[in-house]
Symmetry: C2
C-alpha cells in the first residue's frame, strides 16, 4: 500500500482542541474525525487498529468458551421497564420515539436484552452455564463528551453475560473472565490491574475494574504497588485454580475511588507500598445474582424447583482501548509512538528517500514490499517526495513498530532496519521477514 493512495489525512501540528495525548495523536495522524459532539468516524489507520484490538478481544473470549452473538443497538423500552432501569438510568440513556410513537432507546448496555433472549430459549438447568458475548456499538448521552474517543457518546464495546445455577458456579464464570481479561490486556501490552469497584447502574455487590495507570486517566485508584508484580501465566480454566488466582490479587489492597477507605488503606498497605494515582478503566466485570433474572422471570427448572439464574456481566471498551494504548505507549515530548505489533495498523513501514526523476529507491521499496507481502506481512510505503527527515518524523508519529529505511546509504542486499526506540541494524530481507514473523507468532 502506498501512503499517497491511502486515506490518511495527516495534520502538520497538534490540534489545539485536543487536551490529552491520545486525542492529539489520533487527530494528528488522521485515525479519527469528529462528526459531532462525542461522535467519531474511524478513518483507515484508526479503523485498522480498532479491528485488531477487536480480534484479540474476540480470540480471548472464544478461548474461555464464550459464544458470540449480536444484539441490536436499538432496544424496546419494555424490557427496561421490567427491570426497573427505564426510570432509574438517568439522562445518559438516549431515549427515542419511533414514527409510531413507541418508546425505544439506544442501548448503553445489554443486561435486559440478553436476559430476554435467555428466558425465551433456555428452560433446563442442564444447559447451564451459558456464556454469551457480543461486540456492538453503544451510546451514552454524556453531558460533556471529552478526550476524543476516551469519553465519547457512541463507543464500541465487548459485553459478555453469564448465566449459572448458583453462586458457586457463577463465581467460577466470574473468575474465568477475571483470568481472560488479564490475558487480553497482556496481549495488548497493557498492564491492567483489577481493582475492587463500585457497581453503579449495573448493580450487584461484586465488581472489578481493570485499570491501566495513566496521569490523564479519570479513575482515581488506591493500591498496593506489589500487585503489579503478580504473575498468572500458569493458571488454567479450573474452578480451584481460578479461585486462587483471584485471591492472589485480592490479597493486595486495590480499589477505585468509590471503594476507598483511608483507614483500611493505612492498615493494610505499608507506607512504602502505597500508591494513589490515576488510571484509565479498560474493562469492568460485575456479579449481580438475580438482579435482572428475578424481575424479568428468567428461571430454569432445577430438580422440580424454579430457580432464578445467577448472572454476571463483563465489559471491555474496544474503541477506548485504542486511546488507552496510545496513553500508555506514546511519548509526546519526543513525538514518538510505538504500537504493539498485535494491533499496529501495519507490520512494517518502508521509508525510501525519493529524489525527483530518480525512482531507484522507490522501485527497491516496491520489490521489498512484494517479498514481505508474500510472507503475510502488511506493509506501507511512503512514496511521497517529502524530505527524508519529515518522513521519519511522520512515521514516528504513526507508530508502526518496524521501519525499513532506504536512505542515501542504501546499497547492496543489506537494508537499514529499525525498531522504533532501538538502534538500527543492517539486515537482509529474509532476516527481516524471520525476525518480524517470529515476533508476530509469539503474540
Amino acid at each position: 500500500m502506498f501512503i499517497s493512495k491511502s486515506f490518511i489525512p495527516i495534520l502538520k501540528n497538534n490540534p489545539t482542541e485536543a487536551k490529552i495525548k491520545s486525542h492529539q495523536l489520533m487527530l494528528r495522524v488522521g485515525m479519527i474525525k469528529q462528526s459531532s459532539a462525542g461522535i467519531y468516524s474511524w478513518l483507515p489507520l484508526g479503523f485498522k487498529v480498532m479491528k485488531k484490538i477487536e480480534r484479540v478481544v474476540r480470540e480471548e473470549q472464544d478461548r474461555i468458551g464464550v459464544q458470540e452473538i449480536l444484539m441490536p443497538t436499538i432496544q424496546s423500552s419494555e424490557i427496561w421497564k421490567e427491570s426497573g432501569r427505564y426510570k432509574d438510568y438517568g439522562e445518559e440513556l438516549l431515549r427515542i420515539k419511533d414514527r409510531q410513537g413507541r418508546e425505544i432507546l439506544y442501548g448503553p448496555t445489554n443486561e435486559e436484552l440478553i436476559t430476554d433472549i435467555f428466558r425465551s430459549s433456555i428452560k433446563s438447568y442442564k444447559t447451564l452455564p451459558q456464556l454469551l458475548y457480543h461486540i456492538q456499538w453503544k451510546f451514552r448521552d454524556e453531558l460533556r463528551p471529552r478526550f476524543g474517543i476516551m469519553r465519547c457518546r457512541e463507543f464500541y464495546m465487548k459485553d459478555a453475560y453469564s448465566f449459572d445455577i448458583n453462586d458457586e458456579e457463577a463465581f467460577f464464570s466470574y473468575n474465568k473472565f477475571f483470568l481472560s481479561y488479564l490475558k487480553t490486556f497482556k496481549r495488548l501490552e497493557l498492564s491492567a490491574i483489577p481493582m475492587a469497584a463500585d457497581t453503579g447502574p449495573i448493580g450487584g455487590n461484586l465488581s472489578h475494574e481493570f485499570i491501566i495507570l495513566a496521569e490523564t486517566g479519570e479513575s482515581k485508584i488506591y493500591t498496593d504497588k506489589r500487585i503489579f508484580d503478580l504473575k498468572y501465566d500458569d493458571e488454567v480454566l479450573e474452578k480451584n485454580s481460578l479461585k486462587k488466582l483471584r485471591e492472589k490479587y485480592e490479597k493486595f489492597y486495590a480499589v477505585t475511588d468509590e471503594k476507598f477507605d483511608q483507614k483500611e488503606f493505612d492498615k493494610n498497605v505499608s507506607k512504602e507500598n502505597r500508591l494513589s494515582t490515576k488510571g484509565i478503566e479498560v474493562g469492568h466485570i460485575f456479579y449481580f445474582g438475580d438482579k435482572y433474572s428475578k424481575p424479568m422471570n428468567a428461571a430454569v427448572d432445577h430438580q422440580g424447583k424454579k430457580e432464578y439464574v445467577k448472572m454476571g456481566s463483563y465489559g471491555i471498551g474496544v474503541s477506548r482501548l485504542v486511546g488507552a494504548i496510545i496513553e500508555a505507549k506514546y511519548n509526546d515530548k519526543e513525538e514518538i509512538m510505538k504500537w504493539p505489533i498485535s494491533v499496529s495498523p501495519y507490520d512494517i513501514a518502508i521509508i525510501p528517500l525519493i529524489n525527483k526523476n530518480d525512482s531507484t529507491n522507490l522501485d527497491k521499496a516496491v520489490s521489498i514490499c512484494k517479498a514481505l507481502n508474500e510472507k503475510n506481512l502488511d506493509v506501507i510505503i511512503d512514496d511521497t517526495e517529502e524530505n527524508f527527515s519529515s518522513k521519519l518524523k511522520k512515521f514516528n508519529l504513526i507508530g508502526i513498530p518496524y521501519q525499513i529505511l532506504l536512505g542515501k546509504k542504501s546499497e547492496g542486499d543489506l537494508l537499514e532496519f529499525k525498531e522504533i526506540g532501538k538502534e538500527s541494524q543492517n539486515l537482509s530481507v529474509k532476516q527481516i521477514i524471520d525476525l518480524v514473523t517470529k515476533i508476530k507468532n509469539k503474540i
Copy 2:
C-alpha cells in the same frame, strides 16, 4: 463444538408468524430472535453466517482497492440540512433529540457524512480517485416491518462511496463496483442480475439494482432471459474492459418496476425471452455526480479551478443476504437447506447415533472432530441422545453442507460421508479432509 453446549434454540415446528421461508427457517433453527418490531438479535448460528458473508463482501471490496473506514450510526442533522435531505427523506428517517435538545438521527445511509469527511481531508485532484467503504448498522423506520430480516428496521449494510474528478473517471469507479458485485454474489452462489433501476431518495440518474430471482421477492422485474447466461470471469480492472462488461449486460433489457416500459420491453425482447417475475434486491449502485458535493461544497483544486467532485454510492445488504441465500437455497417442501460452503455456519456436521450407556460413537465423533479441527475445518457434533432420524431432520434444516453419519453401520476406518442433496459415500478421514479443504480453497 457440541450442539448440547451451543446456544442453538431449535423449534419443533415452523413459527406461525413467519410468512416467507427464510423467516421461517431462521426462527426455526434459532438463527435470530426478534427483540422488537423489525429489530432482531443474531444468535450464534445466524451470527456465524452473517460474519462469513461480511468477510466475502469485505474481501471483494479490498480487491478493487476500496479502503475500509467506519462511520458512526448516529449523525448530526446539520449535514442533512446542508444536502436538503433532512426535509425530504420522510418518516423512515429515525429522528432523535439528545439530552441537550440537539437534532440527531440514526443514519439510514451515509452520503452526507462521507462527503463531510472527504471535504475536510482532500484538497487536491491528485489524490483522486478516492474509494471508501464501511460496514455498519443502519436504521430505517419502516411503517410495516415484515419478512424477518428481509425488511426490518435495523440492518447491516456495506456502503461504499467514490469520489472522482470527472464523469469519465466516475464511470470507471462505477464499473469497478459493477464487476465487484457480480463477483461477490457469485462467491455466495447467487445469480444476481444487474437491472436498471430508479434512484429514489439517493438521487442521480444512473443506477443498477442487483436482483436475485425469488417468488417471495418484493421487487418486480422485467428482463430478457438471456442475461442469465452472461459470463464475466475474464474481466479485469481496466477502464475499457469494464466499460465493455457493463455494455454486455446493458444490451439486454433488464429493469425494475419503476423503470418498466411495456413498449420498450415488447420492442427489445422477443416473446420467448421475456421474463417478468419477482426478485430480491441484494445490492444497489448509484451514480449521482455533484448532487451532494455541490451543496456541501466538496471540491478539489484542479489546474487552478475549483471542481466539485463526482460521486457514486454502492450498497450491499449484508444482513439481508442471509435471508436471500435461504430464499435461493432452501427447499421448504422437503425441509432441506444447504448453505454455500463459503458462508455455512460450520464446514461439517458429525451426527452419531448415541445409545444410552454406549459412548462408542460419541468417542469416535470426538476423535474425528479433533482430526478435522487440526486441518482448520469447523465442526459441530450432535452429542444429544435424540433418535437418529430426528437428528438428520434437524441437520437438514441447519444446512451444513457436509455430514459424517455414524450410525449402526459405522465400522472400521471408512465413514459414511454425505453432501446434502447427494448420495452418501464411504470415505476415510483423510479423504474427507482433502475433499472439503479442496472445495473451501476454491471459493
